[in-house]
């Protein structure tokens, strides 16, 4: 069930069925195939919803955002270009931007009470086999994160996982303006290099 995820250790074929499957489902969705989209939903909903939930936090709003994300993936499915990369990352990029936009607009009317330092994630991990693969990924990412300095990791997590702007991150961490963006960037570079991305 790892069609959307990192192929399990041992399977070194990067062009495994995982990627092809999602792309095929997107293509069929673009042609209006609702069954294909249902399959796509089942494959990626935990990953996408989990990320949205992590950023948005409020369960009701997270559900709304996730619903919007999926409707837009459906609508935009023909615009996905496999030559540019994986279907999963395309969908995650859409979802992250939308989640961040939601918390920022919600911020205008209602301050999130769950500020940095008091955050206590209470997310329920699902127990399907997909989650098992997800945990394998997570372990690698956790290990990579450990190569970051505490300061880099803190800034990166506040930015990506909590959706704060670099200016807000600087304020929250009592840093001079400009320092947070540097830490975010340095942290990402370390993460990228540790995970083996060359560019």
């Amino acid at each position: 069930m790892s069609r959307f995820s990192v192929v399990p250790p041992g399977d070194t074929s990067p062009e495994g069925p995982a990627r092809i499957d999602l792309e095929r489902l997107l293509r069929r969705s673009a042609a209006g195939d609702e069954d294909a989209f249902a399959e796509l939903y089942d494959a990626v909903s935990s990953r996408l919803y989990g990320m949205v939930r992590r950023v948005v936090r409020d369960p009701a709003q997270s559900e709304e955002v996730a619903q919007e994300v999926f409707l837009d993936i459906w609508r935009q499915s023909a615009r996905f270009d496999p030559a540019r990369g994986s279907a999963l990352s395309w969908m995650l990029t859409i979802a992250h931007r939308k989640a961040v936009d939601r918390v920022r607009s919600a911020e205008a009317s209602r301050q999130r009470d769950d500020r940095y330092g008091t955050s206590n994630q209470d997310v329920t991990h699902d127990s399907t086999s997909e989650a098992v693969v997800g945990r394998l990924d997570a372990e690698r990412v956790h290990r990579a994160l450990e190569t970051l300095t505490g300061a880099q990791r803190q800034a990166l997590e506040l930015a990506y996982l909590s959706g704060y702007t670099h200016t807000e991150v600087a304020t929250m961490l009592d840093l001079p303006l400009g320092t947070a963006k540097t830490r975010i960037r340095d942290g990402l570079i370390r993460l990228r290099d540790t995970l083996g991305v060359t560019s």
């Binding site: 673009a30 995650l92 991990h125 990412v141 996982l161 995970l195």
Partner: protein, 275 residues
């Protein structure tokens, strides 16, 4: 461009810029191959963080989504070589990033980008699975301009007024007189001090010379010019100037090398005093 704007690559990759910075960086990104490559790889690295938060969605979501899609028609594919719909470039700056960064300048020719993408794929075939995932995500983000367009088509009928519309309809909006441009066409600026924003509106603007872009500037009371963004389209355009126009004493348009300049390198083709 300045080191400052390059340094925003990481924050951009994790959506940690505010709307104004985001628009400004996207304009820069369109002409900066180094930033495109860096943003792509950093955004890919960031995407892996989502593996830390796998969470089963509420059971009801699936039915809502599957019900929802029955009422939405998928968009047609973009035909290769097609421009984006013309109105997009005249929308808010956050939405006006050129759809394909590759088209921005000679140093980002499509062939080169394609080669880079190809190289990345080829290289990662030898790598670990995670390496592949990350690299695939990397390549995906090269479509970043596409995402900007995607966002713009997302607006639908519930879109609040754009910044440009707000400025033009602000009670204190002042419109400068039309300036005839040396190469043909006219430009005017509308500014709302209360909103702190200014909008340049062009009519029949000729294309910038090859390898050049139009760059917008705001002049502060001390006479210092700050870039207010690039404008690489022609014809009838409405572009919000980046930055705070509340205290600006003037705005200008110059022709600069692709990618823009830190300070004007030529005399303005149009200058609008707010005094």
């Amino acid at each position: 461009m300045s080191d400052d704007i390059h340094a925003l690559s990481g924050a951009y990759a994790v959506d940690a810029l505010d709307d104004s910075e985001r628009a400004q960086f996207e304009q820069h990104l369109a002409g900066c191959a180094a930033c495109q490559a860096e943003v792509a790889s950093l955004a890919a690295a960031a995407t892996t963080l989502s593996s830390l938060s796998d969470t089963a969605p509420p059971p009801g979501l699936r039915a809502k989504v599957l019900q929802g899609i029955t009422t939405v028609r998928p968009l047609p594919p973009l035909v290769s070589g097609d421009g984006e719909p013309g109105d997009i470039s005249t929308r808010e700056p956050a939405l006006s990033a050129p759809p394909q960064p590759a088209a921005a300048g000679p140093e980002t020719a499509p062939d080169e980008l394609a080669a880079r993408r190809g190289g990345r794929h080829a290289e990662t075939r030898r790598g670990s699975p995670l390496r592949w995932l990350v690299a695939a995500a990397t390549a995906a983000i090269l479509a970043i301009g596409g995402f900007a367009v995607w966002r713009s088509t997302d607006s639908g009928s519930t879109t609040p007024p754009t910044v440009a519309e707000q400025v033009r309809s602000a009670p204190d909006a002042k419109t400068s007189s039309d300036v005839a441009l040396p190469g043909g066409g006219t430009a005017t600026v509308v500014r709302s001090p209360s909103l702190g924003k200014a909008v340049v509106i062009t009519s029949d603007l000729p294309s910038a010379p090859a390898g050049k872009v139009y760059q917008l500037w705001l002049q502060d009371p001390s006479g210092h010019f700050t870039s207010a963004g690039l404008m690489d389209a022609s014809g009838d355009q409405t572009v919000v100037l980046q930055g705070d126009a509340a205290d600006a004493q003037a705005a200008g348009i110059t022709i600069e090398p692709a990618g823009g300049s830190e300070q004007p390198t030529s005399n303005p083709i149009a200058f609008f005093s707010f005094a």
